[in-house]
Subunit: 147 residues, 2 copies
DNA sequence: GAATGTTAGTTGACTTTAGCAACTTTTTTT
DNA sequence: AAAAAAAGTTGCTAAAGTCAACTAACATTC
């Protein structure tokens, strides 16, 4: 790849890092960290064992264990024994956990809306098309299974 | 903005967060943190007082002071007295500091290249065009001065 | 089928990262 | 000249993250 392309990609990365930081600011208005929010989200989606979460989110298993413990102690998660494999503790959101996830999700929506709503409709449609193209290209040619 | 657009933007954000995490991995192969690398970069660009760096990078000034102290102790930075205002300590990269910055920069290039080089030329050109369009749109309509 | 190795998760000890407030020195304001 | 503000340092603390040792359950292999 030529140097100019690398430069442009890195410039985009820098600029978009700032956007992502702004969209993450809503976490400051909640009592939950980014990791906690992400855990609730992924568990809701069905990624429901500590080991799966560890592999997906690349967090230390010790730290993960403690973080999950905290969420359990707050009543957002419950452990469900896994009958096939008793080493595994399956995780589920409680009703409270679902409520919290919904709240966090709405704030994230609001934050994204705030950041992008000033872009006029047609231009926004282009931006969204661009995003999908980037996402697909990166996904398609990536050897990293998780992207 | 409609819910579908918000969903798409958030999906892109999630997927691109993973890309950025991968491009940040080179920091693990160096002895420098993201903040340290960024400080070297910005000082090289001429942002050369702790206060300016604090405003640009939004870091606590106490933490910044200590981080700069560390870089000075490692011989990557030197303090130059500011004759106009003796409260200010201007910062400059030493030769070693420049070398380290160059090394970090090359690793970042390599990482980006690794991630994107598998995308075929034409598709890559589209991706880069998309990135510029997104960057410009966000910048143009953003009220945040720093984006 | 007992020994060995591996996997899931927990815990203790520790380091790094970060934030806050008090403080010194210098400059600016009134 | 006094008061306020700005630049930077330091002490104290908390949160975030890492690492290794450990238990219990499961898998392998001989």
């Amino acid at each position: 790849m030529n140097a100019e392309n690398i430069r442009k990609i890195r410039e985009f990365n820098r600029s978009y890092t700032r956007v992502l930081k702004l969209t993450d600011k809503y976490h400051l208005d909640t009592q939950y960290t980014l990791l906690e929010s992400r855990l609730l989200l992924e568990i809701d989606r069905g990624v429901n064992s500590a080991n799966q979460l560890m592999l997906l989110l690349h967090v230390d298993k010790g730290y993960l264990s403690r973080t999950l413990k905290k969420l359990k102690s707050e009543g957002l998660l419950i452990e469900v024994p896994n009958d096939q494999d008793k080493r595994i503790k399956n995780l589920n959101l409680t009703n409270d956990g679902e409520k919290v996830l919904k709240m966090i999700d709405q704030r994230a929506d609001t934050q994204v809306e705030t950041l992008f709503s000033s872009i006029p409709t047609e231009e926004l449609e282009n931006v969204i098309r661009d995003m999908q193209e980037i996402k697909n290209a990166v996904k398609k040619y990536s050897h990293d299974k998780e992207i």
